[in-house]
């Protein structure tokens, strides 16, 4: 096996400082938005007593799901023994941490009483899936820090595979927890489904890999280092499988609901006549975030192009945000079914579809948290050697030896 050599990025270019400055401005805007929401109260947002979780939660859940998925690449190397991915494991671990921190920052800043964070840290209801998640998130950060340390520190290298297993199991549990936030909710028609947990796991594979691919491609393009086709195409193929897997779970979820008369109302709402939600579902989630990326990844006319692979990964992210939007906000917009078979009305919008328009502060907070994740990433890349010097085809070990590399290159070229 070849030894990978890692480097920091130089970080003295105008481009680097420009990016740093831009991200800082967005993060500060996000903080200002959060401050505004806290001082004014949530009436300045689009959220209300019908739609209690809004755009900040869409970004937060997306980032948290993507975080555990970003660790995939490292897991593929350590747990599934694919040596080719090994040089990428450090970046994978880094993104897992920064995306999680970004997502959590959004969640915390959206609280009604963010000043009481200490209460969330000191008071636990151990039956709450939210409380479990607090432990899962903090534990995930700790596990990944350990994992990174074992990868960075030569003396600890021997343990990194074991730690990779721990991290892999932890991330599965973590995403099970995230999915179960919705899966455990018996009250609402769109949730209360065991499939939420595994569906979130496959979503995390997909979103995380997409973010990883984009960051990897950007990092190598902007630093003018070599990123070989072999690794990009492998990741692309993996991404394609995850996109297809996500589509499969969405299909299974809706088919199960469609079979039961009890759920016909919510299905009709989400798939046909729910206004903006079916539109987002079909155009953004399914077509832009699913079918188009698959076409870009596998159709002969696109699949060799790095640009189209990048576009595909970006579409997966956009589709993923759409998917989380439909799950979180569409799921709440459909009224609670307290009296099946009746029409219910009240002055509290019972029986009525919840109205929600994302407000500027919410969007700025969500984008700010995402920018925070990227900001942390590019700062870390400058401080510590996360990136391999070269990911050129010749410098990579594939699992089948040199001929496999050749195969990989050949398949990439055809």
């Amino acid at each position: 096996m070849k030894t990978a050599h890692y480097r920091t990025i130089e970080g003295r270019s105008a481009g680097y400082y420009g990016l740093l400055g831009l991200l800082t401005v967005i993060v500060l805007a996000g903080l200002a938005a959060a401050h505004y929401m806290e001082v004014e109260g949530h009436h300045v947002t689009g959220m209300n007593n019908q739609i209690v979780w809004g755009t900040p939660h869409v970004f937060a859940v997306f980032l948290i799901v993507a975080a555990s998925g970003a660790l995939n690449v490292a897991s593929v190397a350590s747990v599934f023994g694919r040596a080719m991915y090994k040089p990428l494991a450090r970046l994978s671990g880094l993104l897992a941490m920064t995306l999680l921190v970004g997502g959590l920052a959004i969640l915390v800043l959206d609280l009604g009483r963010p000043d009481r964070l200490i209460v969330a840290m000191t008071y636990y209801n151990f039956k709450s899936i939210f409380a479990w998640n607090i432990f899962l998130y903090i534990g995930f950060l700790a596990v990944v820090v350990m994992y990174l340390w074992m990868m960075f520190e030569r003396r600890m290298n021997q343990y990194s595979t074991t730690m990779g297993y721990v991290a892999f199991i932890w991330r599965l549990v973590l995403t099970t927890g995230t999915g179960s936030i919705f899966g455990f909710l018996v009250a609402r028609q769109a949730y209360d489904a065991a499939i939420m947990a595994p569906m979130f796991i496959v979503m995390s594979f997909s979103f995380g890999t997409a973010v990883f691919l984009l960051v990897l491609m950007a990092a190598y393009r902007w630093t003018a280092c070599t990123l070989g086709d072999a690794i990009v195409h492998r990741l692309k193929n993996l991404q394609g499988i995850f996109v297809a897997g996500t589509l499969y779970f969405v299909l299974a979820y809706h088919l199960t609901n469609l079979y039961a008369a009890e759920h016909h109302g919510i299905e009709r709402f989400l798939l046909i006549d729910g206004g903006v939600y079916p539109t987002i579902f079909w155009t953004i989630q399914i077509v832009l975030g699913g079918l188009v990326p698959l076409a870009l990844f596998y159709l002969p006319m696109f699949r060799r192009s790095r640009i189209w692979i990048g576009v595909g990964a970006a579409l997966v992210i956009i589709g993923g945000l759409g998917q989380v939007y439909v799950i979180i906000i569409g799921g709440q917009a459909y009224p609670l079914m307290m009296f099946p078979g009746t029409e219910v009305s009240s002055n509290f919008f019972d029986g009525a579809v919840g109205t929600y328009t994302p407000s500027l502060p919410e969007i700025v907070l969500g984008v700010g948290g995402s920018a925070f994740a990227v900001l942390l990433t590019i700062l870390a890349l400058r401080v510590l050697p996360f990136l391999p010097r070269s990911l050129s085809d010749a410098d990579l070990t594939t699992d089948g030896g040199p001929s496999a590399v050749a195969d990989e290159i050949r398949s990439a070229q055809t």
Binding site: G41, R113, N125, T342
Partner: protein, 249 residues
Amino acid sequence: MADNSNRLQPGRRQFLSKAAATATLLALAPGVRLVDLARARAEDEPVTAAVRWGMLIDTTKCAQGCDACVRACDTEFGLTTSDRPEIDAHYIRKLDIRDEHTGKTYSLPMLCQHCEHPPCVDVCPTGASFRRADGMVLVDKHTCIGCRYCMMACPYKARSFIHEELTTQLSHAPRGKGTVESCTFCAHRVDRGQMPACVESCAAEGHHAMVFGDVNDASSEIGKRVRQVPSRQVRADLNLNTAVRYEGL
């Protein structure tokens, strides 16, 4: 807070009233007590599970178009409306229901059902959402962080989030921006031996559609009634053993 005329003047005020009773046993009407003597507690004793507060709502007596209970509740807790009805707090509301197949219409009040197994309590990360020993499901607003997960979990849409700063709170009903709240079964009244405001107003209107009391006490009005007439839980499929039950559905 304009009306201050009832306030005790300093000179007349006394901390230690020698004549005071030791137990919270205020008679509602001659011969009727909210709580059975055997289960009564002294004012400085904690509530216990010997009592389970419950409410039985007779939908056949609940008048369509009448919202006396809602108004009484709003007054009791100082709930106000804003220019954005979507963010207003509702502890109790009137549902108008129409059977899709038969066209039959009826009306009923919907409020926190004070479940024995409340989903809101299960999901609350800090334990701010809790169930008191005597069955009241409440929010400890001192530890509520405003995450709204309980609102996601409640099958009855019983909870509201306070979206704006408030300045006109009443002494017995503290409430403030950034926390979640819901029907308290008028704990502050019940603890003093009074009926919840909604029940009182329903009776005052002459409808008597709401009966409140200790369901554990077979001799109480509600205790007798739930043992005699069929009553139903809303979303009985969830098996939450709600303290609010409906008859005539």
